[in-house]
């Protein structure tokens, strides 16, 4: 039986049961307008639904009854006991058909002509109807005969019986008969309605039961009393099942939260003059109704956003070569104790340039930091408070209360939100939320002498720090603790320090456990003193006077009866700046690294010391020369240091604040960077070493001029951002000298984030418009979208579609057939170079050979511009 019919049966049975009572009430008080209206409404609803479901027999009877009731209602017919009897008979007729429907799934065949005739007669106000004539009664008798007296009769063919001569005296008490008939459907009902309060109370009770069970388990564990063990296990088992069962009663399909969306989307489309198709998948995915309530508004907001900002007008879509009708796709599915909701559109995508401009105009970050960010990182700015890219405020959205509110709401229920957007192709948001908020599994830890619970959802792994020699160590950069974990740098947060608890005096703070936690794409470690076990805890909200402490998501009572606070990893991340929507791509990569999938490439690095703190590193390929200048040669002009170098003035920039002019007679170490005929010098304290290392940049630093940190030769080292330092030499220093009007567009295909970070700012600084993508497949996607480039620079070694494959695909067909291609590779193997050329690359340069790359790019541009 389909759901719709099942719902109808439940509702109709309820309505019929209440109608009996209401009619009897009406009989006693014929002038009770309210009861009359209620009866009319109920019958009307039944009629309407029957019509909708195509249940013709039911509809006809209900319609005839409704007609009579209508006359009662408008006062043109008086309510008489006989009339009530007639209506009750009609109800019984309905009940008979409904029970047949319930038993067989279809309307039983049968003839209601006599009943309908009687009702119609009453409706016309014929006296025969007003005082039940023999004919009417006979008609009623027939109806009762036709009606199954017992459930098993329902399966029989009522029509046959109706045709047969009356076998027994027909009951004259339609009321009692009605009850008997009603007994069938009620016992057979598949669903009952329960008030939400009852379910909530049940849930609270089960929560208490879980707590008591935990308490008992703890007691028995300490006592090893065997007599109790077995029954307690049984109790524990039943409690778990009960908990599951009660949770199930609270589960609702997410479709309930989507019900209003088709209407909203339709109105939105009309208002905005767009064509929008809403596709909903996984509407049956269930989640806790509390979570459902909380997610409803953010979802609505996001769908509005997709329609308003995401999708273009039909005109714009036609121009972009897309179908006129835009699509909003809602998709929900389960994934390990979570539900994932995707809200996607095939609209214009997020305009990275617009966001960039807006970020700068609002002063959310600096240009230098932006230059080092990937597109996704920039796109994530839309989650920042007060950020809205809509140029105009429409009635729909664009008031600056946007995605940040959504993000806050999602985080409130322990969820995370992320997005993926390709300009011109569309945007998809991913919301990950827990299935339920009431009972969660949590890790119990201790810090500063207090115990806390950390929800398991965010915990990636546990690491023991200090102690044994081979175990991981907590290190410090200045005062910030970090940990090298499988060659990745993990930012750490000391829980006792964060919560201002006393640090333990006995053991050094460097010993303890690190709870590796993930919030969105950010991974960080929480340093705790001790780790106990995991426990199912019942989340209780904290008292209102403690709500402002964002570090806690609630509190709970443990098995031993003590109250402990539940930590909120989101709050901790925000409080410490780990996940404040800052650069997180590296962190995401770090996480990939944690799983050990990523292989890096070795790069020659120049290590140097500048200022105090960690040693710094720069790829050797970027450095033109190392100089050791006599102090006397350094001159000052306009507050800037300069040196006459190879017949020209070269600006000098100190690599660390607080640089002091060396005393006369001493020498100053300088790293010289140059581009064509210009040069600048970076003054450092000393050159340490040149090493070849596989490097992975960890979370970008907020210090200007530093790309991030990496572990090099077992030491935490800051990688400097060359382009930022080059700009320090003077605003216009790197602007191309020639009168180039157009900016050559470069497509950089490079799977290594490090090289993307390295090359992008450098290329941008010398006047190229660089678009970087991770994979060859993405590059080809750009081609499909009609993006145009003057040069393609591609790595050779890439997962999936490598550089060779990409070149073959580019040369094979499409708009990019003639675009010059430059291959980048860490290897200079002649066979590889030959293969690259055969595949269609015009030039081949070694990675980090900046000079060669610049030359290759210049050549490629020159070849294209006819002189």
């Amino acid at each position: 039986m389909d759901d719709l019919l099942a719902d109808f049966l439940t509702e109709t049975n309820e309505a019929l049961a209440s109608l009996d009572g209401a009619l009897l009430k009406l009989e006693k008080a014929p002038d009770d307008r309210q009861t009359l209206s209620e009866i009319f409404r109920n019958v009307h609803t039944i009629k309407g639904t029957c019509g909708f479901l195509g249940l013709a027999r039911l509809e006809k009877v209900a319609h005839a009854a409704e007609n009579v009731l209508g006359k009662y209602r408008d006062g043109s017919l008086r309510v008489t006991p006989a009339g009530i009897t007639l209506i009750l008979a009609a109800l019984d007729g309905l009940k008979g058909i409904v029970s047949g429907l319930e038993a067989t799934g279809g309307e039983p065949a049968g003839d209601d002509a006599a009943l309908i005739a009687a009702l119609d007669a009453a409706w016309r106000g014929e006296p025969g109807a007003a005082t039940p004539a023999q004919a009417t009664l006979e008609a009623l008798d027939k109806v009762f005969e036709a009606e199954p007296a017992a459930p098993e009769a329902a399966a029989r063919e009522p029509a046959a019986e109706a045709a047969a001569p009356a076998p027994a005296p027909a009951p004259r008490q339609p009321g009692t008969e009605g009850e008997a008939a009603a007994a069938g459907p009620i016992t057979a009902a598949q669903t009952i309605r329960v008030s939400v309060d009852v379910l909530e109370d049940l849930m609270t009770l089960v929560s208490e039961l879980v707590l008591t069970r935990n308490q008992l388990l703890q007691l028995v564990r300490a006592r090893s009393d065997s007599a109790l063990t077995v029954p307690l296990q049984r109790l524990s088992h039943i409690t778990s099942e009960l908990q599951e069962g009660v949770m199930k009663t609270r589960m609702q399909p997410i479709g309930n939260a989507w019900q209003k969306l088709p209407r909203i989307v339709r109105d939105l489309a009309n208002e905005l003059g767009k064509k929008i198709e809403l596709v909903m998948r996984g509407a049956e995915t269930e989640l806790d109704r509390q979570v459902l309530e909380l997610i409803k508004d953010p979802l609505t907001h996001m769908v509005r956003n997709s329609g308003d900002h995401g999708l273009e007008t039909p005109e714009q879509r036609r121009q972009a070569g897309k179908p006129e009708t835009g699509r909003i796709l809602l998709n929900a599915y389960h994934e390990g104790g979570h539900i994932i909701i995707e809200i996607g559109d095939d609209g214009r995508g997020l305009a990275v340039e617009k966001i960039r401009a807006k970020v700068l105009s609002q002063g959310l970050t600096t240009e230098a930091e932006l230059a080092g960010m990937s597109e996704r990182e920039i796109q994530r700015f839309i989650f920042r408070a007060g950020f809205s890219t809509a140029a105009a405020v429409t009635s729909v959205s664009g008031r600056g209360v946007g995605m940040d509110v959504v993000k806050t709401n999602v985080e409130k229920i322990g969820g995370t939100i992320d997005l993926r957007s390709v300009e011109g192709k569309g945007t998809t948001f991913y919301i990950k939320i827990p299935l339920t908020l009431a009972i969660v599994s949590a890790l119990i830890v201790e810090a500063g002498g207090e115990r806390f619970a950390i929800p398991q959802i965010g915990v990636v792994e546990l690491v023991r720090a200090g102690g044994a020699a081979e175990s991981a160590q907590i290190e410090r950069i200045n005062d910030t603790p970090v940990m090298r974990l499988r060659e990745r740098l993990l930012p750490l947060v000391s829980l006792s320090r964060l919560l201002q608890l006393e640090q333990r005096a006995d053991a050094g703070p460097e010993e303890g456990f690190v709870v590796v936690t993930q919030v969105g794409a950010n991974v960080f470690g929480i340093i705790v003193d001790k780790v106990f076990d995991t426990e199912e805890i019942v989340v209780k909200p904290v008292a209102p006077i403690l709500r402002h402490v964002t570090m806690f998501s609630g509190n709970t009572i443990l098995g031993d009866g003590s109250v402990i606070m539940i930590l909120d990893p989101n709050g901790i991340a925000r409080a410490t700046g780990v996940g404040a929507d800052g650069p997180s791509e590296e962190a995401a990569r770090a996480q990939e690294g944690l799983r050990g999938t990523r292989s890096g490439e070795r790069t020659a690095l120049l290590l140097f010391q500048a200022g105090d703190g960690a040693p710094k590193a720069v790829p050797l390929g970027l450095v033109a020369r190392l100089e050791d200048l006599p102090a006397e040669s350094i001159e000052h002009s306009g507050g800037k240091a300069l040196v006459q170098y190879r017949g020209k003035l070269m600006p000098l920039v100190p690599a660390a604040p607080g640089w002091m002019m060396p005393e006369p007679g001493r020498r100053q170490a300088v790293l010289v960077f140059n581009d064509r005929d210009r040069a600048m010098g970076l003054m450092v304290d000393g050159i340490l070493d040149v090493v070849e290392e596989q490097i992975v940049i960890e979370g970008a630093s907020d210090q200007p001029g530093i790309l991030g940190s990496a572990v090099i030769c077992g030491k935490v080292t800051d990688l400097i951002d060359c382009s930022w330092w080059l700009r320090q030499a003077g605003e216009d220093w790197f602007r191309p000298t020639g009168g180039d009007q157009t900016t050559p567009r470069v497509l950089l295909v490079e799977d290594s984030a490090f090289f993307r970070h390295l090359l992008m700012p450098g290329l941008t600084a010398v006047g190229y418009d660089v678009t970087a993508v991770d994979t060859g497949a993405q590059a080809l996607q750009l081609r499909e979208q009609g993006a145009a480039f003057d040069i393609i620079v591609s790595d050779i070694e890439m997962p999936d579609l490598d550089g060779i494959g990409l070149a073959q695909a580019v040369r094979g067909a499409g708009a990019w057939r003639t675009v010059p291609m430059v291959a980048l590779s860490g290897r200079s193997d002649p066979a590889l170079i030959r293969r690259a050329r055969e595949a269609g690359f015009n030039d081949y340069v070694g990675k980090s050979d900046r000079e060669a790359l610049m030359a290759a790019l210049r050549d490629a541009v020159a070849a294209q511009t006819p002189c």
Binding site: L211, E450, A543, P544, V549, M551, I557, M565
Partner: protein, 160 residues
Amino acid sequence: MHAPMPSSAGLVRPPVLADAAAEMFLTLTVAGQLCGVPVLSVRDILGAQVITRVPLAPREVAGSLNLRGRIVTAIDLRRRLGLPERAAGATAMSVVVEQNGELYSLLSDSVGEVLPLRTEGFAANPPTLDPVWREVSRGVHRQDGQLLIVLDVDRVLAIG
């Protein structure tokens, strides 16, 4: 778990004086000062309890405790009133009150008895009363030659 009332249970018996003009108060002391809270707002009186500290909470919040499966936020009246800390080892009595469905425990030095206080005995706060006290006091009552400060529970709980 439940500390008996300092005196016998007989105290709870409706006193003879109870009438429309009298309101019932539970007396307690904080650093020697006699205070009263309306008995109708009191849910429980507990002896020394294990109290879990809540990091980063306002100073007045002593922590949380477990009352038959419900979490109660404990407010230290001494800290709330800017008085010196209780001596080490001295135990506090919890007077549990309810506000908007949430339970709070007012930690006091000792709990006295339930008294009917006649309305004519009330006096407004003297203008010279310490502002911290004035903030939480509904008025002053003379009681057997002692002055009793009537605490306004809502205002005591208005922290932060």
